[in-house]
Symmetry: C2
Subunit: 143 residues, 2 copies
Amino acid sequence: MFSKTCEYAIRAMIYVAQQSKLDRRVSVKEVAEGIASPEYFTAKILQNLSRNNLLSSAKGPGGGFFLDKQGLKAPLAEIVRIIDGDDIFTGCGLGLAQCSEIQPCPIHHEFKQIRKGIISMLEKTKVGAFTEENSVHTLFLKR
Amino acid sequence: MFSKTCEYAIRAMIYVAQQSKLDRRVSVKEVAEGIASPEYFTAKILQNLSRNNLLSSAKGPGGGFFLDKQGLKAPLAEIVRIIDGDDIFTGCGLGLAQCSEIQPCPIHHEFKQIRKGIISMLEKTKVGAFTEENSVHTLFLKR
DNA sequence: AAAATAAAGGACAATGTTGTCTTTTATTCA
DNA sequence: TGAATAAAAGACAACATTGTCCTTTATTTT
Ligand code: SF4
Ligand code: SF4
């Protein structure tokens, strides 16, 4: 569904969100340990997210990554869009060619509904949503 | 959603299905031209599908690939399973860890529904379904 | 000011996916 | 039987994704 990079990005954002709710800033190292991802690769991803303003960061002692109130409201869709582009939002999953609504293939209607579901799920779910009942949700960031 | 290889596989199967309905066997070359895919790569894919009995093939003059009545009834799901494995059928799209129904993440319910939709779409759509109203559907195999 | 901390950035390596070419095997037809 | 046809199989090349390491820049603390 999503690239590995994107999966890490989502998990990382959730982890940072959880820690931000506790007013903690976290280092790359901590994030990588927290979500069981390769440290340096995770660094790249966090940099990317930060550059794209999905995440705040601060250098130096006491620094690290964090999410402000705005950041917690970012939908998962934004992360996906930045990391994987918007193929999943626009393209046809089957990889068939440009086909119109007027001459759709046998699965077009169903496929459209599914895509709509994915988009709606990603748009309406904010990273902050994963911070309630903290102890429970920390668990499944590692795999 | 699917790998490029898998997209080619689906398009190729549809193309072969269409030609089989006209009692034609088709060569790799014809398939590749028919779906605008790289010829030798397509050969590998067709071999793979053939090895896995999703497709019949015959060597020598007058040979080529074709689908018998059984083959036309194969669901798209089978193609996906063979080429991409069953990640899409079983895994969690977000790449989060093993999480139970009892302690689901905020999007679990919605995600489950979506996955169910994808599976149902792929299972109930047979390759043969793309052979009706032939002229229309041939169009969008090229992209 | 110097040392320590931590992100940013650049360069590179490993792996996986996609794409190409050549040789071998099976079948048909003359 | 020999020539032609077409898939099967093996080897390899190009490219993309994923993963690692090292240097630089900004910030804080002493
Ligand atoms: S008609 Fe819709 S589902 Fe079918 S190939 Fe086109 S975009 Fe995809
Ligand atoms: S609870 Fe469901 S949707 Fe959430 S991470 Fe687990 S499998 Fe995925």
